[in-house]
């Protein structure tokens, strides 16, 4: 049932969307500290969901040739080649050189060959966050995007009319309208990860989590995953990996916490994630209020324009 936190704040989304006795909320915990960038998730997703090819173009951005999450890419593995975070004391931080990549393509850094910085190759499989407060769902004018009983956010291909509103609403840039290939049955409609809704109805795991060789993508009850994630961060901190942090796990955050959350080894924006996303509908009451005021002013304006004038 709709409640005080329906637009912002901690919430169990399935009951909010009218489900009675819904199963526990399901989600992903993507632990990027064990991601090997194999892209099995990308392929398994495409195979299961009949997602067509995205683009055949080498991008030169390390091993990422999938570019981003989009209508033809429901999982996207980011690759970041990161030089040591602590440059040698006598070396100023290398000035960024624009050759298209973070370090790939950087000009000779002046660091002597013998000095081996703590180079890192970060990989992370990004996916729809299945937000607690999902802007895409809320702005959808057809009810195509809906909250499933598992608390996930799913597009109904048979309903969507391709208005594209969800695309602009998503604070993570996940959902997109499919542009091609020609002849594909879902061209023109919004597409994104469904958390394999059909598989979930049969107690199967989403295709990406099923395939992931290293359990970087873990599927399960969000409550339990959140606990597991906190433990994992604690373990990594004990091991001295102080960069480890969780992203999207806080039900108090701008989107009420995400159903798919992450353990990252750097700031979110390094991975192409917004550092502090807020669901746009949080401000919706205020927007309506301002619009009402403006509308009233306009009405008043027209009245004033006519008043006191003789034809």
């Amino acid at each position: 049932m709709t409640g005080p936190n329906s637009l912002f704040g901690p919430l169990d989304p399935a009951p909010d969307a009218g489900y009675v006795d819904a199963p526990k909320r399901k989600g992903f915990f993507t632990d990027t500290s064990v991601c090997i960038g194999c892209k099995a998730c990308e392929v398994a997703c495409k195979e299961w969901n009949d997602v067509p090819e995205n683009l055949y173009q080498m991008l030169g951005t390390s091993y990422d040739n999938s570019h981003s999450l989009n209508a033809n890419q429901w999982r996207h593995v980011a690759f970041i080649e990161r030089p040591g975070t602590t440059p040698a004391p006598d070396q100023p931080a290398a000035a960024p050189v624009d050759i298209g990549m973070p370090t790939v393509g950087a000009a000779p850094s002046g660091v002597p060959d013998e000095a081996k910085p703590d180079f890192q190759w970060l990989m992370s499989s990004d996916v729809c966050k299945h937000c607690t407060h999902a802007a895409c769902l809320d702005v959808c004018p057809t009810g195509s995007l809906f909250r499933s009983e598992f608390g996930t956010v799913v597009v109904q291909d048979d309903i969507c009319n391709g208005c594209g509103y969800c695309v602009a609403a998503c604070p993570y840039g996940v959902i997109d309208r499919r542009k091609g290939p020609e002849g594909d049955s879902r061209v023109g409609i919004a597409q994104k990860c469904t958390l394999c809704y059909d598989r979930l109805t049969d107690n199967q795991r989403p295709a990406c989590a099923q395939a992931c060789p290293t359990e970087s993508i873990q599927y399960g009850d969000v409550d339990e995953l959140r606990e597991r994630a906190s433990e994992r961060v604690a373990t990594l901190h004990e091991q001295g990996v102080m960069d480890a942090r969780l992203y999207g796990n806080d039900p108090e955050d701008g989107v009420g916490g995400t159903g798919a959350f992450f353990l990252l080894l750097d700031e979110p924006e390094v991975y192409g994630l917004p550092p502090d996303p807020v669901v746009t509908t949080k401000d919706l009451p205020r927007m309506y209020q301002r619009a009402g005021l403006a509308a009233a002013a306009m009405l008043a304006g027209v009245a004033v324009s006519f008043l006191g004038r003789r034809p």
Binding site: H67, T142, G272, S305
Partner: protein
Amino acid sequence: MTQTHDGSPTRRRGSRGGDRIMVPEADFTSYYGRAIVKPAPWEKDIAFYLFTGGVAAGSSLLAAGADLTGRPGLRRVARLGSLGGLGLSVGFLVHDLGRPSRFLNMLRVAKLTSPMSVGTWILSLHGPFAALASAAEVVSMLPAGWQRIGPLRLVAVLGRPAGLVGALTATPVAAYTAVLLADTATPAWHSAHEELPFVFCGSASAASGGLGLLGAPVAQAGPARAFAVGGALVELGAERRMERSMGLSAETLHHGKAGRWMRASTLLTAGGAIGALVGRRSRLLSAVSGAALMAGSLCTRMGVYEAGLASARDPKYTVVPQRERVDRGEPVRHRQ
């Protein structure tokens, strides 16, 4: 800016000071400069719709006023403007869908959280009445003999009440489009949510008033002139305010395509308003001013539209404000 970051997630954390007011341009990190939020997939149609919808709404108001105050010339222009605006609006809206044949799916649900759904219902309410009023105007233009044909006569009779209902539902049509844009993750739109309704309502008033100036006899155009000038002032004023509250993404209103549109908008709107004021005796000057105001309104819509897209394409506008919040220790959290 965009070139600097095209494909290069630069990291200059070390240089970030705590007391800066503006973030130096290069001082943020991204993933190869790729966009975080996606630009709305809407074509220019949607900007045109913002304009035609505004014209339709404002015209509907003017038409009702003219009808009530006995300004048939103004009424005619306004009612036809309303009809034309509506027709074009629906056309643009449908055309911009990925699946135009599924347009009616909009009426499947009524979602308060979706400005598009709300707008659809508003339009669904406003449209028939405004259209009916316009139809009455068309009937009045027919040869007298025809006007006596039963159904047409009914239309003519219903013209005024329909026009009044249409007028009452018109301002939401003009205002909701601001919420439509603001209720997105597009930085330049969302950050403008306080003032954008005023900009859009002002713009709609200026454009519809401009249409009145353009089409109505000078003698009957007074209210349109007042409405247009008032709208133009509100628009210009609200736009300045809006830029202040938008923060970083305000710069998208000054760069590139959006910058050109916005500069044109200011010139045309201000010029149109001045022209409207000084040319109150001149049919020609009134018409030119009216056209300028309409053009200015269109430019505003184009400018806001382009600024939004530009702000979505450059991750800076998404990252920097959020990063600053976080670094200030003020991330958005619900805690009550």
